[in-house]
């Protein structure tokens, strides 16, 4: 078997491949649904209905998509430069920590200043958290996949320590949770009485900004060059290590915004279950979008829809909601195969 490169596919083909990957995913996971003794068609229908069948469902899906857009962007940016950031989960929690540290009354500022200050501080903290593994990679040759993964565990324990220590809410009845952020530090709801908040708008704006960075700026050009061929990039004078540092700051910062937006927009305080694995799902979101920042928005909504829909479905049909995680993981693998097929022709001899 041999892989031969082929010319760039048309835009139509490029859009077709994610769809093919999703179709393959549905086909594979329907085997599990059958194993659970349910009918795939009705289960998938229930998932779709639970994700987008009503205004409530749709808003819930968009709410769930918000942190996924941030972590998806974080991964997309990092993977573009082949900086394998698997630590978005940790960066997200650090963003949440910064939000409660600054947002529970420490800074007496009006909302229009306080919120941007918190956002910047959260981004900086998340960026610095990824800068460590990036420096270990460039200075010592330590694989950043392993270090970012290990940091996820360290940071979660660190957060647990804070929540049982200095950040513990005295009124929390002994639960490990922080105080609520003050009203001025809260992102308002988009529609009164619904859960969807302005974090979603920030996420969309972030996606556009990242798209502009990748497409139009010198930094984006450098990041892509470093990702495609670091040797070649170094040769033509691109400061590869410095580009990786900038990538780390940007990627970690974006992931931290997920934590900020969840605390400030949705939950109000920091708990140990702030993220049900948004950092890891961000990898799938980014790959489904083929690392395109605008595509991340679409794929985040899609992935969020699967999770929200599967929750609703599992209440009706007796299929465990973990089917959503299986679908998301499967779509990651089918998608990388699909991307391969856009770029190479497989010859069987």
């Amino acid at each position: 078997m041999r892989l031969e490169p082929k010319p760039a596919p048309s835009l139509g083909m490029t859009l077709l491949f994610p769809l093919a990957a999703i179709a393959a995913t549905l086909l594979l996971t329907s085997l599990l649904v059958l194993a659970a003794g349910a009918s795939p068609l009705s289960v998938f229908y229930l998932v779709a209905k639970g994700a987008a069948g009503s205004q409530f469902a749709l808003l819930e899906t968009l709410t769930r998509a918000t942190p996924l857009i941030f972590t998806g962007l974080a991964v997309a940016v990092a993977f573009r430069a082949k900086l394998w950031n698997i630590g978005a989960e940790a960066q997200l929690y650090i963003g949440g920590v910064v939000t409660v540290v600054l947002g529970t009354g420490a800074l007496p500022l009006p909302s229009v200043i306080l919120i941007p200050v918190i956002m910047l501080a959260a981004m900086l903290a998340g960026g610095l958290l990824l800068l460590g593994p990036a420096i270990l990679k460039t200075r010592f040759g330590v694989d950043e996949v392993v270090t970012t993964l290990l940091l996820n565990f360290i940071v979660l324990l660190f957060v647990s320590m804070l929540l049982e220590g200095v950040l513990k809410d005295p009124m929390g009845l002994g639960w490990p949770q922080s105080q609520k952020v003050i009203a001025d530090a809260q992102l308002p709801r988009i529609i009164q009485g619904k859960r969807l908040h302005y974090g979603f708008v920030v996420a969309i704006v972030s996606a556009i900004v990242v798209w502009v960075i990748m497409k139009k700026t010198v930094l984006g050009y450098e990041m892509r060059a470093v990702g495609h061929n670091p040797e070649g990039a170094r040769f033509v004078g691109i400061p590869v290590n410095r580009v990786l540092m900038k990538t780390a700051l940007l990627s970690g910062g974006l992931a931290a915004l997920a934590g900020f937006s969840e605390v400030s927009g949705l939950k109000g305080n920091l708990t140990l279950d702030l993220s049900p694995g948004y950092g890891y799902s961000g990898i799938v979101v980014a790959m489904l979008a083929m690392l395109n920042p605008l595509g991340v928005v679409v794929s985040a909504i899609f992935v969020a829809g699967i999770f929200v829909g599967a929750d609703a479905m599992s209440r009706i049909a007796k299929v465990p909601s973990y089917i959503a995680d299986v679908m998301v993981a499967t779509s990651l693998l089918t998608m990388v195969v699909a991307i391969l097929l856009t770029r190479f022709r497989v010859r069987w001899k």
Binding site: L3, L136, D143, V146, T147, Y280, V326, A329, L332, L333
Partner: protein
């Protein structure tokens, strides 16, 4: 008892060897994959799947060794998936590895919920029991630590010896080591690089799964969520720390486990002045530290993470 005396208690070393056992299996598994040139980041998920598969086999009425076998088979199947995507299809070993971990983990959780829909506390099985080896287990301290363990721990040590023998003394071991160093050397001698690499990943993944099964069938007696808890990632660090050599990696795993057992005891001694989370962080921090210390000097298998296409040089 003070912090230093702990080191001379048999119970400490018994715990250390018990903690080391799953790491030894999984580290050997990862080592085989990487020696053939494939980084297997599916390890965390494959260990999860193995932990469940072994435990559930026994829970469903199978005997313990059948459970180990089923775990190994489950691991090999995920290894086959990983290898198919990364070896002939040359896909990114990073992305595929993470994908396999996500898939194996979620499939395990899905299956658990499917077969045990309404349980509140995880059901227990009768796990492997310690099998003191007469005579040897009477030797103070280390005899007790090494020879009053469960059969699965003994199997872990046997596995290291077998892996070392196979890699350095057998024809197929030569092919595996060459595939990770210069795959064209393998192909030029008429051996299929794809075959060697896929085989290595499958065998390695089977060992990882047995490592996971150790937790549910020997260390504990039930399966619960997130029980692997980063052990897979630690094993990847251990492979680097052991310079891709089975003996050194074994030593690394025992050292690491001793440290882990030690921090638990220190935690009890500290009387709650230092938050317990600090102790729990130590294994992960130690792994990162170990990577930093050896990464500069490490002699990686040269073809690690480099896909091979036939006829390429």
């Amino acid at each position: 008892m003070d912090a230093f005396e702990i080191l001379f208690t048999a119970s400490f070393w018994v715990a250390a060897i018990r903690i080391a056992s799953p790491l030894i299996f999984a580290t050997m598994g990862e080592l085989i994959c990487e020696r053939a040139g494939v980084l297997n980041l599916g390890i965390e998920g494959i260990m999860t799947a193995g932990a469940f598969a072994g435990w559930f086999t026994v829970y469903a009425g199978g005997d313990l060794w059948t459970g180990v076998l089923v775990a190994a088979l489950a691991g090999a199947m995920f290894g086959l998936l990983h290898a198919t995507l990364t070896v002939p299809l040359s896909l990114s070993q990073h992305v595929v590895g993470i994908g396999v971990t996500l898939l194996a983990t979620s499939l395990t959780y899905f299956t658990y919920r499917l077969v045990l829909p309404e349980v509140t506390s995880p059901p227990k099985i009768e796990p492997f029991q310690p099998l003191p080896i007469p005579g040897l287990s009477q030797i103070p301290l280390f005899g007790e630590a090494l020879f009053s363990q469960t059969p699965l721990t003994y199997l872990a040590f046997v596995t290291v010896a077998v892996v070392a023998w196979v890699l350095y003394r057998t024809p197929v071991g030569l092919a595996v080591r060459a595939a990770g160093e210069n795959p064209s050397a393998v192909e030029a001698q008429g051996i299929s690089v794809t075959g060697i690499r896929m085989g290595a990943v499958m065998v390695g993944s089977a060992l990882m799964a047995v490592g996971g099964a150790f937790l549910t069938m020997s260390a504990f007696n039930s399966f619960f969520f997130e029980m692997i808890n980063g052990r897979g990632w630690i094993c990847i660090a251990l492979v680097v720390f052991g310079s891709w050599r089975p003996g050194k990696a074994l030593l690394g795993a025992i050292l690491f486990a001793a440290f882990d057992a030690y921090q638990v005891r220190l935690q009890q001694l500290s009387g709650g002045i230092v938050p317990y989370q600090v102790f729990l962080m130590m294994p992960y921090a130690l792994s990162i530290l170990a990577l930093i210390l050896v990464a500069r000097r490490a002699t990686y298998p040269k073809a690690l993470m480099i896909p091979y296409q036939k006829g390429e040089r």
